[in-house]
Symmetry: C2
Subunit: 428 residues, 2 copies
């Protein structure tokens, strides 16, 4: 297959007219397909069916001597703290188990930093003048939105194959107005990158100018391999502590993509000093999170080996979907030289870098053909991709057949957008 | 029985020595009893046993066509919005169904007002200089703490038998720094007062100087009669709207004392304009609350008549406990002229006004004898009861026999504190 960049004008025009004809044909079918969000599919949710009946009676609702149906235990029931501690290789005393959304715990941390400050804050963030936050990009739009909501300036940091560009990070943290960084360290959203040990140690050993700099360590995909065995990952709390930075990091995880996205349990892990601080501030807003659901999860997921076995069943459902996407890209996009990506082994996304200046146009065409996808730019702060290139593909929700249709349409649209761009002579 | 105030010094001393002897005898027993919080007892929790098994399979997890196990539906599942709408006589479109804690929804509202402002705010509350909040007292300590946490000045407002002292309220709202009021309008915490129609209409028709004044209408005990039939209560949203104040009120409720305190569902009701505003701000922090638990509740509680029938079963458990407390007070305290209270017909508390300047001393003695109670002053802003008189008694948790022991000890301590006070000659 000849790369598009090597085609002459006539060949480009011929190709464009052929691809457009194919596109119009699928558009006429009036499809309605969704690849927009990292939403598990029905088959995956069915894997946790038995959790629904695991606490059938009040007499089952005991965690040791604790009646989980009543008020109390703000930090979570002991067995759930133990469960997440094992999963993330931290101490139970370093865990607060929350409600159904780790995002809510992250938001709460930033909101509390804003109104009251963190453990080591000289003043609340709202009183610190300009506040900046580092955003490795492409990244998770909902992370960026939390810090944007509080008026912080979002600083894009380039992603490398081993994590955020640490030269840029180390430069920025000299600025005392830079108060934190968003990280998805394992199977990063959307690139699927696992931070290297070098990057992890550079992050953990940072000496930022701000005494209350916060590493927001969203370990959302900590056990989410869909291709191959579980990949062990170091405990960031311990490493930070070794560098004298015990209070600099806040780790988050949840069972949203283990059991039910709408009804899982979440956690925040941090130094015991930070846990004590947040127990105090959380105590103002809630008496306890849903402890019945915590116990339901512990009884169903039991421990790390049992959970990893469940994740392999998720993997069996997810891998064919990711293969469908990646195989189509390998067949239709990569050889034409109009996009590149790295085949992920875990997480929920394929991160495609389309030919620069074509992502928006391609996704507009995709939308017209009835396929919902994450909007172009969404993976960058303020929704602004400087290259108009990155496209986040979320293959988990649709059945494989629908997915093949949807990715087929995406490929057509990417080709049209690339051909138009080449014909405009802006790139070639 | 002769009121203590009519005893002479010798009689007071004789009585004190007799009561102290009785107190020392119970203290020696080394009891451990808890009347501190409005925590339902085990028998009450058992009433919702069948809710635990009401969604045993994935195929049951549908609300209409909606799979409640997946992401989505920030405002709650349709049937849960409908459920709370019926309960509170509002429209489903005026309801956001939250997680396990209405306190979290209230905190979130105040926190959002602080950082971003409310729908009609000229500026965030954090940028408004001094902010004041009206606190009808005695009231709920957790309410007061939320506004205190954000640095607001808490203004105590006296409670009358028909609600907050409206003369004081109407005076205060002329001040543009006064941005809201906490209300528990039915079976108020702790007095058990039901706001009169006159007070409700005066509140709903207020024209505060602050354009974003917020009535925090915590209808925590909306269906919580334990003595007699359900008492209908007007819809505050409609009344506010009639006075042109549709956006001034936020109503809260939960099933914490209907099903499980640790694992119920909660709601915020407000004008559709307010719901739209909060949907936007909540969307930054959460994708959806636990919709499986919402459906579990709707399937179990069904509708208002079914829920009211369940509340009658709670009532059958609660009434003997309240009777034990009130009968003891009627026997030991009221005739001695050292305390007054109004026998409540709903809610979770008995609010005793002990002889002024004796509450702290009495509760210190109570604690020494192994009984945990809400600390004196807790029902007032900053924990400061100007008369050192109000004592909140929470009879729901202990079994009746334990409760009788505990209230017996409280009565002894109240008598000791009153006798000591009279002997100091400060009151008599």
């Amino acid at each position: 297959m000849i790369p598009y960049s090597e085609l002459d004008r006539t060949a480009l025009e011929t190709e464009l007219s052929a691809v457009t004809e194919a596109y119009e044909a699928v558009k006429a079918k009036g499809l309605k397909l969704d690849m927009s969000r990292g939403k598990p599919g029905k088959e995956q949710l069915d894997l946790s069916n038995d959790m629904l009946k695991i606490l059938p009676d009040r007499e089952d609702c005991l965690d040791g001597a604790l009646d989980v149906c009543n008020y109390g235990n703000l930090c979570g029931i002991p067995s759930a703290r133990q469960y997440f501690a094992e999963l993330l290789d931290v101490k139970p005393s370093e865990v607060i188990v929350g409600g159904s959304a780790s995002l809510q715990l992250m938001y709460n941390l930033i909101a509390t930093a804003f109104s009251h400050g963190l453990l080591k804050s000289p003043a609340p963030w709202s009183k610190r003048g300009k506040v900046r936050f580092l955003c490795p990009s492409p990244g998770y739009d909902r992370h960026f939105r939390v810090t944007e909501f509080f008026g912080m300036e979002l600083i894009p940091i380039a992603m490398t194959p081993e994590g955020p560009d640490m030269d840029a990070v180390l430069q920025w943290i000299k600025d005392p107005s830079v108060l934190g960084i968003w990280c998805v360290p394992k199977y990063s959203n959307p690139d699927g990158i696992i931070y290297s040990n070098r990057v992890i140690h550079m992050l953990a050993s940072m000496k930022p100018a701000a005494p209350d700099f916060a590493i927001m360590w969203d370990n959302a995909y900590c056990i989410h391999e869909f291709d191959g065995a579980y990949v062990p990952f170091p405990d960031i709390l311990k490493i930070c502590a070794e560098y004298g930075n015990a209070d600099m990091v806040y780790e988050f995880a949840s069972t949203s993509k283990v059991t039910f996205p709408g009804a899982g349990i979440s956690c925040m892990c941090a130094s015991e000093a930070n846990i004590a601080y947040f127990t105090k501030t959380l105590g103002v807003q809630i008496i306890s999170f849903d402890k019945v659901n915590q116990l339901r999860h512990v009884r169903f997921l039991k421990d790390k080996p049992t959970t990893l076995a469940l994740m392999q069943r998720h993997a069996a459902i997810l891998k064919p979907r990711f293969d469908a996407v990646c195989d189509a890209l390998d067949r239709e996009i990569v050889p034409r030289g109009i996009g590149r990506y790295t085949r992920p082994k875990g997480g929920y996304f394929v991160s495609l870098y389309a030919m620069p200046q074509t992502a928006k146009r391609a996704l507009a065409l995709v939308r017209e053909a009835g396929v919902t996808m994450t909007p172009a730019g969404a993976t960058y702060p303020y929704g602004q991709d400087p290259f108009d290139s990155n496209i986040r593909i979320a293959p988990s929700l649709p059945p494989v057949e629908e997915l093949e249709q949807a990715i087929g349409i995406l490929c057509l649209c990417l080709r049209i957008a690339a051909l138009e761009q080449l014909l405009r002579g802006n790139v070639n």
